[in-house]
């Protein structure tokens, strides 16, 4: 670890610790005790983004499976080495493939999974608007009317006829 990095790292830690003095600073567990608060946050972020290889739906952070614990230790080791969150995630992706990440990578074909919801947000209202518009066009084109309107027309016609008969 270079000296500059160490300085930045140290100042970040100080800043974060000074910002919030919460109950989390009194950790006595053997595994996590050597980690600073900042490191723990990185650890939780990273472990939360990696899938537990042997369970369904759980992250490495939430699971106690042997494989998960191994990965947890690997993550801790790399944090101690001063690697950033992205570096660690990249390492795991290279080692196990994108499968280990809990969300699809935003490149190649996989980006479809991310673009699709955005397309929905844009296209959904457009489709609804188009359908309403088309319906209104069609009904005026073919003179389709509701029962009430037809009744109203009949009434008018009768009134007209009555008026005409009275006039003659």
């Amino acid at each position: 670890m270079s000296f500059a990095r160490l300085v930045i790292y140290f100042s970040c830690c100080c800043l974060l610790i000074s910002l919030d003095v919460s109950g989390q600073s009194t950790i006595e567990n053997s595994e996590t005790s050597q980690m600073s608060f900042d490191d723990q946050r990185v650890f939780k972020d990273v472990a939360g983004m990696l899938r537990c290889p042997t369970c369904t739906g759980l992250s490495v952070l939430d699971s106690d499976a042997k494989f998960s614990v191994q990965i947890q230790n690997l993550v801790k080791k790399q944090i101690d080495q001063g690697k950033s969150k992205e570096d660690i995630l990249n390492y795991f992706e290279k080692r196990y493939g994108p499968w280990i990440l809990r969300q699809p990578p935003k490149r190649g074909f996989h980006i479809v999974a991310w673009v699709f919801p955005l397309v929905l947000i844009v296209l959904g209202p457009l489709i609804v608007w188009f359908m309403v518009w088309r319906r209104s066009r069609k009904s005026s084109e073919y003179m389709v009317r509701s029962a009430d309107e037809i009744a109203e027309e009949f009434k008018q016609a009768i009134n007209q006829a009555l008026a005409a008969s009275k006039g003659s």
Binding site: D20, S22, G23, Q24, T26, I27, E28, N29, S30, E31, T32, G48, M49, R51, T56, G57, L58, S59, D62, S63, D64, G97, P98, W99, I100, L101, R102, Q103, P104, P105, G108, F109, H110, V112, A113, F116, P117, L120, I121, G124, P125, V128, V132, R135, S136, K138, S139, S140, V144, R145, S146, A147, D148, E149
Partner: protein, 662 residues
């Protein structure tokens, strides 16, 4: 015994096929007797399948392990209650349970129809019986519960230990009731399409069955979540895994369906959308099962190896194809009441917006569930889509829904303006502020570490209370409109009242979800009689590990005294349990606390020799109980709405078709 059971199921399958054919013929020639015989065929198959179920239970209760299913899922030392539930603790049994429920629904549906639906009943019968026939076919081919072992074992392998939990015992039946009651709206939709229109009775029946299904699905999904919470030990209740998604998708669809029916009932609009939603929700129940059952979700390769997968695929694609064809060829016949309708600023437009949000969410969940399969097929590279993906979108959906609920409820049908509601929105914002402050203070929101999370929570809580005030204001307006006649209001407006309660329940649930932004977790090791202060609690591990035996389980309990500021607040007993059929120790989680927060302790490890040292994981989970409470409120809302004497709609009156013969 097993052979008789198998034969009964075979008879069921045959009689359903006959019923299908008879219904079709009854529809073609409008023959009452043929339809009558189809009804009897469905009833007979229902009775036979119940007897077959009795056989399975008999084998399990009498330890007849020559039945492979009993051998696989039960053992002699299983408590009586779990012997009963062992019936649905594995694939074949749950398929059987589903089929039997579907049969019961079919029978009830075919015998209790209103007079003005009589003309479409043969179509209803045909659509239900063809599905049922296929389910029975599967039950005797790929999912045979009556398979036997050549030599009966003395002891069974026992039930899956994770399933030996009261929540998991009742979760599957409730979910299956929710799934199977969706068959009726589906069948009625197909029938209405075949016939060409809907009647008042159609709407009444479909609304009733959809509401029943909605209540059961709501309760079942959250019961499943509660099971995960108390049994799995990762301190959460929803993981967005494919199994959960596949139960959530029908829920989203049936919720949309109910709102769509509302517009149809009031204005006679959106009839065709109702059909689409009813068909899709039923389709998704099978799709979910296909996805979780066929192994396609773990990998495309395991799909090819599973025996049930391909035939399930054939069925769901057949179902979709047939439904689309019927819709495509017949939908043009179904016309809205008022074709010159203007969709202005009124309640029906708000319902359409709500439908858009719910369906978009359903589409996102659907894509998130199946995308790994699609992606693997195309790129040959496996990826996972889990909670972070869904959580990236869910908050926006929640936000949109809350705003739509508030605005939509205060708008009026065909009003084409905001009317009084603009004033209410402003007042509600002010009224909600102190409530938000009080809530945030009670629920420790101000203690959240990250400012971003704190901001999100405060905004969310304020939005929720704003919406709640808007809804309550609307309720007051309604009562005022009826000149304060409480009794009249409660006797005539129960659908409205039910909706009010259910919406409030949904808000309480989202309030509970917000607690996920401020959960705390810590792992700590304790020696006997040592006191440690963790997350604001003082924990004392009393004396040592206690070993006990309850029913068939050996328990290793770590008694822990929890105090706060020197005052004892709880004695908690996290434990690990050893089931006779399993080598691994299971978590028995201790949960204690109140409405504002749960203290959740998992015994992770203990000193095996003397039992004087333990490692525990402590979670402080805020407002989890809001979620459980909200479920109860929502279901009550559904039941109140169900009790409404439906007042009919303005859809075109149809003169019921006469029977030609019989």
């Amino acid at each position: 015994m097993a052979n008789y059971g198998f034969f009964l199921l075979f008879l069921c399958s045959a009689s359903c096929l006959y019923g299908f054919a008879a219904s079709l013929a009854a529809a073609k020639w409008r023959n009452r007797r043929l339809f009558q015989s189809a009804r009897f065929a469905a009833t007979a198959s229902g009775v036979l399948s119940l007897i077959a179920c009795g056989f399975v239970w008999y084998a399990i209760l009498n330890h007849d392990f020559s039945l492979y299913y009993a051998y696989k899922n039960s053992s002699t030392d299983l408590p009586f209650f779990y012997k009963i539930t062992a019936f649905w603790s594995s694939l074949e049994g749950s398929h059987m349970l589903w089929t039997v429920f579907l049969n019961i629904c079919t029978v009830v549906c075919l015998w209790t129809f209103s007079k003005d639906n009589e003309h479409i009943m043969p179509y209803v019968g045909a659509s239900l019986l063809v599905v049922l026939g296929w389910m029975y076919y599967l039950a005797i081919t790929h999912s045979d519960i009556f398979a036997v072992t050549p030599v009966a074992a003395a002891e069974g392998r026992g039930m899956n230990t994770l399933l030996q939990n009261p929540y998991m015992a009742i979760h599957p039946p409730m979910l299956f009731v929710g799934y199977t009651t969706l068959a009726v709206p589906f069948a009625y939709s197909i029938a209405a399409l075949c016939y060409g229109d809907v009647t008042e009775g159609w709407l009444k029946t479909v609304r009733r069955w959809s509401l029943i299904s909605w209540c059961f699905l709501t309760a079942a999904i959250i019961l499943g979540g509660r099971w995960a919470y108390v049994e799995l030990g990762w301190a959460g209740y929803w993981a967005w895994d494919p199994v959960e998604n596949s139960s959530f998708l029908p829920w989203l669809l049936v919720t949309s369906l109910l709102h769509c029916l509302l517009v149809q009932g009031q204005l006679g609009q959106l009839k065709r959308l109702t059909f689409v939603l009813a068909i899709l929700s039923f389709f998704l129940t099978f799709f979910g099962t296909f996805i979780t059952r066929s192994g396609v979700i773990t990998s495309v390769h395991s799909f090819a190896e599973s025996p049930i997968g391909p035939s399930y695929l054939l069925f769901i694609s057949g179902l979709l194809l047939a439904s689309s064809l019927i819709y495509g060829f017949r939908a043009y016949l179904v016309l809205p009441t008022d074709t010159g309708k203007v969709w202005g600023v009124s309640k029906e437009s708000a319902v359409v917006v709500c439908l858009l949000i719910l369906l978009s969410f359903a589409a996102i969940v659907f894509v998130g569930t199946i995308f790994p399969i699609v992606s693997e097929t195309i790129t040959k590279q496996r990826i996972s889509i889990q909670a972070p993906y869904f959580n990236a979108f869910a908050p926006y959906v929640g936000f949109g829904l809350i705003v739509t609920i508030a605005i939509g409820n205060l708008l009026r049908y065909q009003a084409n303006n905001f009317g009084e509601s603009l004033k209410v929105f402003v007042y509600a914002t002010v009224i909600a502020l102190p409530i938000t402050g009080l809530f945030a203070w009670q629920a420790d929101i101000f203690d959240t570490v990250s400012p971003f999370n704190k901001g999100i929570q405060l905004a969310g809580v304020q939005l929720i209370f704003w919406c709640a005030v808007c809804l309550s204001w609307d309720l007051l307006l309604r009562i005022k409109m009826i000149r304060g006649h409480w009794t009249l209001f409660f006797s005539r407006n129960r659908a409205f009242l039910g909706a009010y309660i259910a919406h409030m329940g949904a808000l309480v649930m989202i309030l509970g979800f917000l607690g996920n932004y401020r959960g705390l977790e810590q792992e700590v090791s304790l020696n006997a009689d040592e006191v440690k202060s963790v997350l604001g609690y003082e924990l004392k591990f009393v004396s040592g590990i206690e070993v006990s035996k309850v029913d068939n389980v050996r328990l290793f309990t770590a008694p822990i005294e929890v105090s706060q500021q020197g005052r004892l607040i709880a004695r908690m007993k996290p434990a690990r349990s050893l089931y006779p059929t399993s080598k691994d120790l299971l978590n028995e989680i201790a949960v204690d606390g109140g409405i504002w927060r749960d203290l959740y302790i998992v015994l992770k490890d203990f000193d095996r020799n003397q039992g004087k040292q333990i490692v525990i994981q402590i979670n402080v989970n805020p407002t989890v109980r809001f979620v459980w409470l909200a479920t109860i409120i929502m279901v009550i809302g559904g039941l109140v709405a169900l009790s409404d004497a439906y007042r009919g709609d303005r859809s075109r009156d149809v003169i019921a078709g006469k029977w030609e013969t019989g």
